[in-house]
Symmetry: C2
Subunit: 355 residues, 2 copies
DNA sequence: GGCAGATATGGTATCGGTACCATACAATCG
DNA sequence: CGATTGTATGGTACCGATACCATATCTGCC
């Protein structure tokens, strides 16, 4: 192997001084360009001899088909885009993994875009991706992204909402049953005897934030417990939110809750950190529940009582549905797929301490 | 707003039944297509009146430029690809963040691809990305990916190696000083009095695995300690490797090490889990050091003694260098950029327990 | 023999932009 | 005043594939 050097000029061994095109291959093989195209894409009858001549021409020239020009003609890019809110969260990377697996079975690639829960980043990505003629979108809307979604709509590009929905948007969607999950977690705490349960979750513009609050309130109401807005904290789905909201909740001994409900795994890590700094033990001094498992390996062994989603399935099924639409299926009625969540009871909850 | 419905046919308000093109805009504005192109790209003198007429035509038609056809003509896609080994690791997501920031300043987008440390996934991505005429590659090679890299080379597409290098590959590269980092960590343990230090790291085909072993051996040699192959464990940069290797290291009380060196953060989580299951406390019963910080929020407060890299900087600088090359800079000599790592001493190490 | 259908290949136009070259007029200048 | 430079716009060809239509041979069968 010759020593490799990056940023070399293109291979000039054929003397043309540029990358070979389908015409160069055709000339060398003594056939028409369209025939080469057929060999590459297996789209028509080709005699074995021709196929072999073409293939050997491809090999000698190191021909690489140009999918840009292909896309221009076919109006398909074979690319899907996925806009997620936080790529550092294992929940989302697992969703991505599922979507990728579903896509690769169909020869589609996924462009992963991190919106950082910011509406303007969402909008910017949509702009660029529409120009790039992406075949379809998997969207986890951040706040009110309806304007961006309307633009996707206007271009006639299919999309599927994932994990989150938006009011007044009629669209295919795949998500987990946040309401029931939150209801079960809260009910579990109530059954242990807790009466002052704080919830720390995402703002109401995020549908999972709304739904988890709804499930929480449902359980309270069922148990005859009054809603107390002092116990409801809204922030982002981040570590910092969990940390600061917990500190705030602990400030006054009088109103201090006996249990904390973290809206997702990252909030839960912040909650635990704040409790630790206040010298409070889980579950002896404070019970904690959360949505989603903590990052793998977190805290030696899993000890948190959680409502488990199936992020891989979410991603896989959302992508499968999108691919159906991309392939022109408009007959299947609009889908709103909601997966059940599973309550996993571990060691982070106990009856409230006596005061 | 009309109710939104995904997978609608494209907007037909102009009666053409298809997406408007630059020619449609030109017709409506009463100018030539090239003039519209100039307005969009700001590439030539345009009178204010013309600009406004064109802009308003763009607005009425909801024209979205097609970057596929643009790329075909200009031979630029304004896309970079980044192939990383493990997208679930915060180290890599932070690298990505840095690369994205550097790229977006230049109007470039990054396609993030997860190779899962698998050579065939690496090769498959390279194939697809070359066809998509990506402008440049940021590569974290997994094992021996030289064949794939040779193909990139042959197409004349610039690339920069990031975090890892490959033997006999002359290429721009950006990475951390693994040798010194490993040397410092090991030396720290030796100075505390440890004589039996196990290292758990990546296989030798990964350059960081090689280099970290090298630094470890350097420190041993300097201290006059003999190399003991029973103390050297190779696996992947994953939680499982740390877990299983630690279990193996603990098996025999006679050969049991007094300190463990984890090759990266994920290995460290596995190490901690295994120690916990064996009822061993850190640092009282076992000292542990690691490369890279544990995931944010891990273990309440940071307590691990680590060699810190700067993943954001790595990503930012690698992308900046790549962008230079993409923009045609072939005069700057080949760069091999190595960032220092910082030894952060926390609470995971102590002198070895008396036997 | 003639015809339907399977097999195998090619010519030409086209996707939607921009490169390249050309043109025309106004302002500036020695 | 003619030449030069700056401003403003357009015509045509082309990037590298494939869609669409056409053609030719071969087989089997009535």
């Amino acid at each position: 192997m010759r020593p490799l050097l990056n940023a070399l000029p293109p291979d000039n061994s054929d003397g043309t001084g540029r990358q070979p095109t389908i015409r160069d291959v055709a000339r060398l093989a003594g056939v028409a360009p369209i025939t080469v195209s057929r060999v590459i894409n297996n789209t028509s009858y080709i005699s074995p001899e021709t196929r072999e001549r073409v293939q050997s021409a491809i090999d000698t020239l190191h021909y690489v088909p140009n999918s840009i020009s292909r896309s221009l003609r076919t109006k398909k890019t074979n690319m899907l885009a996925m806009l997620v809110s936080d790529i550092t969260n294992p929940f989302w990377t697992t969703v991505t993994r599922g979507a990728e697996d579903a896509s690769s079975h169909h020869g589609l690639n996924i462009i992963l875009c991190n919106t950082d829960e910011k509406q303007d980043k969402f909008a910017d990505y949509v702009t660029v991706l529409l120009q790039k003629q992406i075949d379809g979108f998997l969207l986890a809307p951040t706040g009110d992204d309806r304007a961006s979604i309307a633009r996707i709509d206007k271009q006639g590009v299919p999309y599927v909402l994932i994990d989150r929905v938006l009011p007044n948007i009629q669209a295919d969607s795949v998500r987990s049953d946040s309401v029931t999950g939150a209801y079960l977690l809260t009910k579990h705490l109530i059954e242990l005897g807790h009466k002052r349960i704080a919830i720390i979750t995402a703002p109401m513009v995020v549908s999972t934030g709304r739904e988890r609050l709804e499930g929480y309130l449902m359980a309270l109401e069922e148990a005859g417990l009054a809603r107390d807005d002092c116990l409801i904290h809204h922030g982002g789905y981040q570590h910092e939110t969990g940390y600061h909201a917990t500190c705030a909740a602990l400030r006054s001994a009088a109103t201090r809750p006996t249990a904390l409900f973290a809206g997702n795994n990252f909030i839960a890590t912040g909650v635990l950190k704040a409790l630790d700094e206040h010298g409070l033990r889980v579950p002896e001094d404070m019970s904690v529940v959360s949505f989603d498992d903590l990052p793998y390996g977190f805290y030696r062994k899993p000890f948190m009582t959680v409502a488990l989603q199936e992020p891989y399935t979410l991603g896989y099924e959302a992508a499968s549905l999108l691919i159906q639409r991309v392939n022109g299926d408009v007959t299947t009625p609009q889908q709103e797929i909601i997966y059940p969540v599973e309550l996993i009871i571990r060691d982070s909850c106990a009856p409230p301490a006596q005061r």
